[in-house]
């Protein structure tokens, strides 16, 4: 590779050696990939665990489950798509509640289990930490969508 100066020559050699030393990226078998994506949605970090990325799996589990649990502890509310105010509306649901639901349900079982046992289903907007709690639960769900996407990329052999 022809480069402009000595430093670039050194870097080019370094990257060539690194690429040669590392094995080719290979996609995982399809069933394992699908299972990893579903597991990644249900339990944050489980998809990476299935793909052998133990450290990243633990990190995602602690941060995302921790954020969701913190949100619940701060009196956040679990949202469900609410019906529209007007019965004549062309969309039957209140759109903002659909978006809030979408962002929270990204956390998988973190949303489903508390919802099933009635935790966080009674709104407490008078609590001083109510909005903080909601923000942490939105964050957890939305970050988990990115983690699911990351598990898909690793399974498809696009990244390590």
């Amino acid at each position: 590779m022809q480069t402009r100066d000595d430093l670039s020559d050194d870097l080019a050699a370094h990257f060539r050696a690194r690429v040669a030393a590392e094995p080719e990226l290979k996609p995982y078998p399809l069933p394992r990939r699908i299972l990893a994506v579903i597991a990644a949605w249900l339990v944050p970090g489980a998809g990476h665990l299935l793909l052998g990325k133990v450290g990243r799996a633990a990190l995602f589990f602690v941060t995302i489950v921790g954020a969701f649990a913190l949100g619940l502890a701060l009196h956040g509310r679990l949202f469900w798509p609410a019906p529209a105010d007007s019965p004549d509306a062309w969309i039957r649901f209140d759109l903002i509640s659909v978006l809030w639901f979408f962002s929270q349900v990204g956390a998988g079982l973190c949303y489903i289990v508390p919802y099933a046992i009635g935790l966080g289903t009674n709104p407490q907007p008078w609590a001083s930490t109510y909005e903080y709690g909601n923000a942490f639960m939105f964050l957890a769900g939305l970050l988990n969508y990115l983690v699911v996407h990351d598990a898909f990329d690793i399974g498809a052999g696009r990244k390590r």
């Binding site: 990243r56 990190l59 995602f60 921790g66 964050l139 970050l143």
Partner: protein
């Protein structure tokens, strides 16, 4: 309370975003990228609060 929540929020977001960034292949790069992102979140948050403080609504 508000600053504590902002720090926690920034730490969680920066940790996950730095880990899944495809440009960071090693742990060292991830840590450096995460710290930069965490600093940027806090810095931008404080700057915005300072800019918006005089606005009366």
């Amino acid at each position: 309370m508000h600053v504590l929540m902002m720090i926690l929020y920034a730490a969680i977001a920066a940790t996950v975003l730095a880990t899944i960034d495809p440009r960071t292949e090693t742990t060292g790069l991830r840590v450096r990228h995460g710290l930069k992102m965490f600093g940027a979140f806090l810095g931008i948050g404080l700057l915005l609060s300072w800019v918006l403080f005089p606005i009366p609504w």
